[in-house]
């Protein structure tokens, strides 16, 4: 996945429309990732998961975050690029 991303980057460089689209898609993916993390924490807190399951979920989410970082880097995007301004509602993802 990151391989094809690197190949495609050549085409997208200098093409702001393509880059904006990538940023938008990655923003949505990032939103889902953060929601999954929250959901995972909620399930861990509820005590319904075994230690093994917790370990596995944590590992999956960690890999997902790494993948996300790599993907973002490969398109030359910064963490703060992945967000949407929803006007009076604030931003889609929390800004620190």
């Amino acid at each position: 996945m990151s391989g094809s991303g690197t190949d495609r980057r050549v085409d997208l460089d200098g093409d702001t429309v393509g880059r904006d689209l990538v940023a938008l898609v990655l923003t949505v993916v990032e939103l889902l990732r953060q929601l999954m993390e929250r959901q995972a924490l909620r399930r861990v807190d509820s005590g319904e998961l075994s230690a093994e399951q917790i370990e596995r979920i944590g590992n999956t989410l960690m890999l997902l975050e790494q993948r996300m970082d790599e993907l973002r880097d490969s398109f030359g995007l910064l963490p703060e690029d992945l967000n949407l301004d929803l006007g009076p509602l604030g931003s889609l993802l929390p800004r620190d």
Binding site: L41, V44, E55, I57, N59, L61, G87, G90, R95, D96
Partner: protein
């Protein structure tokens, strides 16, 4: 309402009356500064008597200010700015000698008679408002979070940890939890700081109201506007407010979280709304 606030000027009339503000007849603004020209293409600003009240108007070409033509012109940000500045300048000039109730931008009447009739119709409301605004000015109070004031220490550390112990899923979840908790604490502390500023500041004011937060882009990257408030202050009490704000600004519990910005004095736009008298968050 028998006299509509806006009536489409008919084709034959060339001039309409644009109203800026209402003031007490007794506190007339006197001669306007010569540089004050009001809206471009209009006549000189002048004062119309309306019994105990008076209003400041200007004759403007009806065609340029009629509903659709005006709406179209105001779509252009530069034109909108020119109009808003012209409007504001007249109101500021009028407010120098006494309280005024500013009217909305481009409040248009068919002619002077109708403008006067519209004001007379709401004389009691205008008088009540003007009395409340007498010898008072508006101050703006904004509190903005300071981005990176307390850098989340776990972020960089978390990244190195992650590379060093790639197998520990539970530790990762704990880091995520810590990150979220930190963010929540930071936000909570920032909101608390803003609430404290508002609580302290409004003690010096006759009235206070919260306004809608401004466009996040204006606050700067990573910053959030925590409070956008307007305060109505008695003349001569600004020093108390400034002193209170100075003290708050140097309080570490607030200085670490937020930046306080005080602006003014302004014509009390936020407190001079005829339609919103009930919405104020007043102490009276």
């Amino acid at each position: 309402m028998s006299v509509p606030a806006y009536t489409a000027p008919d084709e034959t009339s060339t001039l309409a009356t644009c109203a800026f503000a209402v003031h007490l007849a007794a506190s007339g603004p006197g001669p306007f500064p010569p540089a004050l020209s009001g809206h471009a293409g209009g006549g000189e600003p002048r004062v119309l008597d309306a019994g105990e009240l008076a209003l400041i108007v200007q004759s403007v070409p009806a065609a340029a200010f009629a509903g659709e033509a005006l709406a179209e012109r105001l779509q252009d940000p530069a034109e909108l700015e020119r109009c808003a500045r012209a409007h504001h300048d007249v109101i500021t000039a009028a407010a120098r000698t006494g309280p005024v109730v500013p009217l909305p931008l481009a409040t248009l009447y068919l002619d002077d008679t109708r403008a006067v009739a519209a004001v007379r119709e709401r004389e009691a409301q205008f008088t009540r408002l003007l009395n409340r605004l007498h010898r008072r000015t508006e101050w703006g109070l904004k509190v903005t979070s300071t981005p990176g004031a307390q850098p989340p220490a776990d972020r960089p550390a978390g990244e190195t940890d992650r590379r060093r112990s790639p197998a520990d899923g539970r530790a990762y979840l704990d880091r995520v939890r810590g990150r979220q908790r930190d963010r929540e604490h930071r936000h909570e502390a920032a909101w608390r700081a803003a609430e404290r500023v508002y609580a302290v500041a409004r003690r010096t004011a006759v009235e206070a109201r919260r306004l809608r937060p401004q466009d996040p882009a204006l606050a700067g990257a990573g910053a959030r506007q925590l409070l956008n408030a307007a305060l109505l202050l008695d003349h001569g009490t600004e020093a108390r407010l400034r002193h209170a704000i100075d003290q708050l600004s140097t309080d570490p519990a607030i200085a670490d979280q937020a930046r306080i910005e005080l602006t003014g004095p302004w014509v009390p736009y936020s407190f001079a709304r005829l339609d919103e008298e009930a919405a104020t968050d007043g102490l009276q």
